[in-house]
């Protein structure tokens, strides 16, 4: 008897959750939080419905670029342990579906962003999706060990988009919020790269730890940590900063610098002996670092009564 099913070779029926996983929901939480802070600390205000829509469509745009990344990177995702369970390499979703979902959601997110807020914010969102999907995923990720640095820019745009949704432009404060995430990304990822047994090499993705060695990576972590400390203190001096931001910046960056110095001063033999305890602690701190900085900006905004 003839097989009448539309897709006879398909053995797995994807659930809604399988498609949702294409949008990298965990990355989205950082995007939502930083975009919300950018939006709330900006001078002026949006109607709560517009605000909700702006955050939703920034998150949707980020999710769409995640789907495009999974479409393009399906081959390397299959090789690496961390990503092998993603929907495409595990066979739950087909590559072409991820491409279709990525393109469709990008369009919806950008158009809806323009309708809900303004063209400038929508343009920034479109550029962010392009940057992550094309510049990072398709081009730099496989060609340079600086991939993390430049790719970090994609993750740094959300507070700028949130700001632009309210004001329709950029400012020193929004650029410094961008710079804070941009400079924070390399030490955050390289610390992780130091203590996770790398399988980027198996996937032919150039990581600094592999191409330039772990000693150089330790130095780079220190260099970016010094840079991000400068940005954090500068951000506290702008219109969105205040006493809470300044104290948070000083305390957190002192801790962050201390951690980076410890990482720089030791070698892998020392790290092996305590199973990368210093690197692990630094990585954990880096997670709190970004969250607390943006929370401090929000607290200062509340303090100065901007959030009317």
């Amino acid at each position: 008897m003839a097989d009448l099913s539309i897709n006879a070779e398909r053995t797995y029926e994807p659930t809604f959750g399988d498609y949702f996983a294409l949008l990298k929901p965990r990355v989205m939480s950082l995007v939502v939080f930083t975009a919300l802070v950018g939006l709330l600390v900006a001078p002026g205000s949006l109607h709560p419905v517009e605000m909700f829509a702006a955050i939703l469509f920034i998150a949707l745009g980020a999710g769409a670029s995640g789907a495009l990344n999974m479409w393009y990177d399906a081959d390397i995702d299959a090789v690496m342990r961390r990503t092998a369970k993603r929907p495409i390499p595990s066979g739950r979703v087909e590559r072409q579906e991820a491409l279709a979902i990525g393109i469709a959601l990008s369009g919806i997110a950008v158009v809806m962003m323009a309708l809900a807020t303004n063209l400038f914010a929508a343009g920034l969102l479109a550029f962010t999706i392009f940057f992550y999907a094309v510049i990072y995923s398709m081009w730099l990720k496989r060609s340079t060990p600086q991939n993390i640095v430049i790719g970090g820019a994609a993750g740094a745009f959300p507070p700028m988009i949130g700001w632009a949704a309210v004001t329709g432009d950029v400012s020193m404060a929004s650029v410094l919020m961008f710079a804070l995430i941009f400079m924070w990304t390399p030490p955050h990822f390289w610390a992780l790269a130091l203590f996770t047994k790398s399988d980027y090499g198996d996937a032919d993705v150039p990581m600094l730890t592999v191409t330039h060695g772990r000693k150089t990576t330790r130095l780079h972590i220190l260099a970016y940590t010094v840079a991000v400390a400068g940005v954090a203190v500068a951000l506290a001096q702008t219109s969105v900063g205040g006493p809470i931001t300044l104290v948070t910046a000083v305390v957190l960056n002192a801790m962050f610098l201390l951690g980076a110095l410890r990482i720089w001063r030791r070698d892998d033999a020392a790290a092996e002996s305590d199973s990368y305890l210093v690197e692990r602690k630094f990585f954990k701190l880096s997670l709190y670092y970004l969250f607390l900085h943006f929370a401090a900006l929000l607290a200062d905004a509340a303090l100065s009564g901007v959030m009317a």
Binding site: E13, T15, V49, E50, F52, M112, L115
Partner: protein, 59 residues
């Protein structure tokens, strides 16, 4: 009679319910945005075949 007991049907159902909820949510957002934009927009008057000087552009 076919009984829908296969696990495949649960997956399909999850997808259908999920897409359905997303679409309803999207309609709700577009509607809410429309209400907000129209309420906050410039005052509007429709032409109703009677001359109304206040609608004319000032010279």
């Amino acid at each position: 009679m076919i009984k829908a007991t296969h696990e495949l049907h649960d997956r399909r159902k999850s997808r259908n319910v999920g897409v359905g909820l997303v679409l309803v949510g999207f309609v709700a957002i577009v509607f809410a945005l429309t209400v907000v934009k129209v309420t906050r927009g410039d005052p509007m008057q429709a032409f109703d075949h009677v001359v109304r000087p206040e609608m004319e552009v000032a010279q």
